[in-house]
């Protein structure tokens, strides 16, 4: 649409620069694992051996099947909890709804595997609840390890995500639609299924996809609580750094299979969503109603109960972090102190600085890239920018551990050796966080009429200056909200950083993982709690800046 469409200007340079970056840090690494997957270390010729090994051995194919089962189960259970919860939240006045909302977000932003770890401490073989129940009733609780534990840990962490999506969808439902359906004799439960669910179907499908993808790619949870229940990401990790001897080529093949599967899921979801395309203009949001006492009790019981269960792991970890431990740190003794914090700081103290450094640099790069790409995609439609748009979304379907492997195998030799550096961690975080930030930036930019920029240009401002003086400030508030969430997910990331870290670039999540592996639960709990506080503070900043606005997806 713009005059400069055909002209070569500063934006053309930016397009080319971004494309080159993607070629180097995304396409090239992905190509490298694709290439590696067709070779073996023993034989320098092209071969399908890795793939045939994978598909002919039920030991490996089971891991796909397991991943599917656990991801679908997590998705289904999360939706079963989140849909009624979001509905009740939108329809009725809930006591302390703002507090509950914040707690729900807190559950969501905890590091993936920390929940699993804490559930083991609660319900595992020596778990406090297991022991308690056994000593009181003599009953041995069913064991938490394996499918059930993964499902529990993932669902309590991922249903909040689904909740936020569906709540966002419900906010767009006009009250008059509900009134109209009541007017035509459709009310209560019937209306919930016949009117409300179809109206928020796009949000439900989006939520389903997000939950499935996160569950499928989650590596920390099954590693921690899975015990013999092997899933895909764990298998990739084992092949890559495993104790049984590493096989990078075979790990690459599994990574390629993983990408194909997630891409297929993504496509299926897109097709399903396209069947529910409609626009609503909500003039009158749904008005929250008061409930009768009995109903109110059950509704509050359900909501508070779910939130408490989900918060339990974090609360318990915070408690453990203050307990005294034996000098080895491997078991708890009586009394409370800051000992675990002090010991943990001595051992992995640099991880705090690293996490902050990596997080801040990655965040700046993510926001800058997202704004630039959003501008190119929305305001400068051309073939190159469409290509950038598509390319930038690729990481969305790539599990974090695959990003990690791809980067390690691509940048471990001259001319570019980046392994174990802060730089490679920043690159990995950027690649992983950029797609969602781009999406939200595009949504923000599409709301801004182009004439405002044209007005600035006609008043004699250069294109670049218009962008920084007019466009960016108008996008700022929308981007800020997304940036805080990006920040939180960067500092709680594990699946790619565990592939990439070195002793100098260790992050807090990796530190927790290594402390858990050494059996020093108190110290792990201390770092986990510190991370939780950091996330919580970020969230507080989000709420104080965004005023009354709630986090919505």
């Amino acid at each position: 649409m713009t005059a400069s469409k055909k002209r070569f200007d500063v934006w053309t340079l930016i397009s080319i620069g971004i494309m080159l970056m993607y070629l180097l840090f995304l396409i090239f690494p992905l190509f490298t694992i694709l290439k590696n997957s067709f070779y073996t270390s023993a034989d320098p010729s092209f071969t399908m051996e890795n793939y045939s090994k994978f598909f002919s051995n039920s030991y490996y194919t089971d891991s796909i099947w397991n991943s599917f089962k656990v991801s679908f189960a997590t998705m289904a259970l999360s939706l079963i909890i989140a849909i009624p919860m979001a509905y009740l939240f939108t329809m009725y006045k809930i006591r302390g709804s703002r507090f509950v909302q914040i707690l729900i977000v807190m559950c969501m932003i905890s590091a993936p595997f920390i929940g699993a770890y804490s559930w083991i401490l609660l319900l595992g073989r020596n778990g406090i609840i297991t022991q308690f129940v056994k000593s009181v009733t003599g009953i041995t609780l069913p064991k938490i390890y394996g499918f059930g534990g993964i499902l529990l840990a993932m669902t309590t962490r991922l249903f909040p995500l689904a909740f936020l999506y569906i709540q966002g969808g419900l906010k767009n439902v006009d009250n008059s639609l509900l009134e109209a359906s009541a007017n035509m004799g459709c009310n209560g439960i019937k209306r919930f299924f016949k009117v409300v669910i179809p109206l928020v179907m796009p949000s439900i499908l989006a939520a389903a996809l997000m939950v499935f993808m996160r569950a499928f790619a989650d590596f920390g949870t099954p590693l921690m609580i899975g015990e013999g229940y092997r899933t895909f990401p764990v298998e990739i990790y084992n092949q890559f750094v495993g104790e049984t001897g590493t096989n990078h080529n075979f790990a690459s093949a599994i990574a390629v299979i993983a990408i194909i599967i997630t891409a297929l899921i993504f496509l299926i979801q897109k097709i399903a969503t396209s069947k529910f395309q409609f626009t609503m203009n909500s003039l009158h949001p749904i008005e929250k109603q008061k409930m009768k006492p009995l109903k109110s009790f059950f509704v509050h019981f359900f909501i508070y109960g779910m939130v408490m269960i989900s918060m339990l792991p974090q609360i318990y970890l915070a408690y453990l972090s203050f307990r005294n431990t034996t000098p080895s740190g491997q078991s708890f003794t009586s009394g409370y102190s800051f000992d675990s914090y002090i010991k943990a700081y001595k051992r992995v103290g640099r991880s705090i600085g690293n996490t902050m450094k990596i997080g801040i640099i990655a965040l700046i790069v993510v926001v800058l890239l997202a704004i630039l790409i959003a501008y190119l995609v929305v305001r400068r439609k051309n073939a190159l920018n469409n290509l950038i748009d598509v390319t930038s979304m690729i990481p969305f379907v790539i599990p974090g551990s695959v990003v990690g492997i791809a980067l390690v195998t691509s940048f471990n030799q001259k001319p570019l050796i980046l392994t174990a550096t802060i730089a490679i961690m920043v690159i990995a975080m950027t690649i992983r966080r950029v797609p969602s930030t781009i999406r939200s930036s595009i949504a923000v930019l599409q709301q801004i009429p182009i004439t405002i920029e044209e007005a600035a240009i006609s008043l004699g401002t250069s294109k670049l200056k218009t962008f920084f003086r007019i466009t960016v400030p108008m996008m700022a508030s929308g981007i800020f909200a997304g940036a805080i969430l990006s920040w939180v997910s960067i500092i709680t990331e594990l699946s790619s950083s565990i592939m990439l870290y070195g002793s100098k670039s260790i992050t807090m999540t990796v530190a927790i993982y290594t402390l858990v592996a050494r059996g020093t639960d108190g110290q792990a709990a201390a770092v986990a709690t510190a991370l939780m506080v950091l996330s919580g503070l970020s969230l507080a900043i989000f709420y104080s800046f965004s005023g009354d606005k709630e986090i919505s997806m």
């Binding site: 007005a455 240009i457 006609s458 008043l459 004699g460 401002t461 108008m474």
Partner: protein
């Protein structure tokens, strides 16, 4: 700048879709020039080509003697006012107005002085510290105007600036714009689809349809002497009636299909004996008679609009006819009653049968 705007053989296409095939036009310095046409006629496209926001596929655009085809929009020295105002929401009224001045790195006192001057001209000086979200639509449009004018542009471009305002405010702003333009004498190109607004505000108007200029002229010329059927119908409304030319004793007479005859002293050479023509008759160009005339119509609907009364009537063959007549208290014309009409030969227009061109001989308008 002097010499106004000159556009020769402009062409615009989006892909294979030709929006403007070949358009030439000249706008005089200091003129208030309006591009008028239905939506999709290419008027906004042309304006944005002048502004530099649309590419120019072919042709030349001149500001005075300077060819501006490849000049950066930021360097064209234009002020632009947009349909949705395009006020920077993150700046106060005064910051909006000062924005263009600061870009030109003018000294502080000049910026202050010019800001104040244009805030005063647009009558918004008392709200200079307000943020845009606390302004009404009309006030926002005043800010947009002050901002566009403050850089003292060579050309002011306005893209349907009043279409988002309510009817009353639209007339008020229309007068404010006209007053400002008279005072500053700035060359102005104005885009609208509202023919009444165009006539009220413009020195000259170009009527456009399908990317082609149908006629350029003063409001008076367009209304009284439309050059083709499109203009006759888009600027005001016209009744289109078929007739045949009859030449008798060197006089040219229009014979309408219902037998009514009217002598026309101002037809061109082309209007020869036996030629089928299309008469364009405005509703107010009919004269109503008490006694029967050959041009009788039956009224099927009427609207009383105060000053005038509109009659919706039809001929015996079913052709619809609109007649406007000054309202009279004693008017007894009801539904079903007959109106006996004649026409004013000096006022009506005669077009070729296909409506493509006029058959009225050129005459010198005293206002051309």
């Amino acid at each position: 700048m002097n010499g106004g705007i000159r556009i020769s053989h402009a062409k615009k296409c989006y892909g294979n879709n030709v929006i403007i095939p070949d358009l030439s036009l000249e706008i005089k310095e200091g003129e208030f020039f309006t591009l008028l046409g239905p939506s999709g006629c290419g008027k906004t496209t042309l304006l944005r080509m002048i502004a530099g926001f649309n590419t120019i596929e072919d042709g030349d655009f001149y500001f005075g003697d300077t060819r501006i085809n490849n000049l950066d929009p930021a360097k064209r020295n234009i002020g632009m006012v947009f349909q949705n105002y395009a006020i920077f929401p993150n700046m106060s009224v005064k910051q909006n107005v000062a924005f263009g001045l600061k870009n030109r790195k003018l000294p502080k006192n000049v910026i202050e002085e010019r800001c104040d001057r244009f805030l005063k001209i647009m009558k918004i000086e008392e709200m200079k510290d307000r943020m845009p979200d606390r302004l009404s639509g009309g006030q926002q449009q005043r800010v947009a105007l002050a901002r566009a004018l403050s850089i003292e542009p060579a050309v002011l471009l306005m893209d349907e600036p009043l279409s988002n305002l309510d009817a009353k405010l639209r007339i008020e702003m229309r007068e404010a714009i006209k007053e400002m333009q008279n005072e500053l004498g700035i060359t102005t190109v104005y885009v609208t689809h509202d023919q009444e607004e165009a006539m009220a505000i413009s020195d000259r108007i170009a009527v456009m349809n399908l990317g082609v200029i149908q006629q350029i002229g003063t409001p008076k010329e367009l209304y009284l002497r439309p050059r083709n059927q499109f203009v006759a119908n888009f600027v005001g409304t016209s009744n289109f009636l078929y007739a045949t030319v009859k030449e008798e004793n060197g006089k040219k007479i229009l014979v309408f299909d219902n037998g009514y005859e009217l002598e026309m002293p101002n037809l061109t050479e082309e209007a020869k004996d036996g030629l089928r023509v299309m008469a364009a008759v405005r509703p107010e160009e009919f004269i109503i008679h008490k006694e029967p005339t050959p041009f009788a119509v039956t009224v099927h609907q009427s609207s009383f609009l105060g000053l005038n009364t509109h009659y919706f009537a039809h001929l015996d063959d079913g052709t619809n006819i609109q007649v406007v007549h000054e309202s009279e208290f004693n008017d007894r014309t009801g539904i079903g009653s007959k109106l006996y009409l004649t026409m004013n030969a000096a006022k009506i227009n005669v077009l070729s049968e296909d409506g493509s061109h006029t058959l009225i001989a050129e005459e010198t308008s005293d206002n051309a």
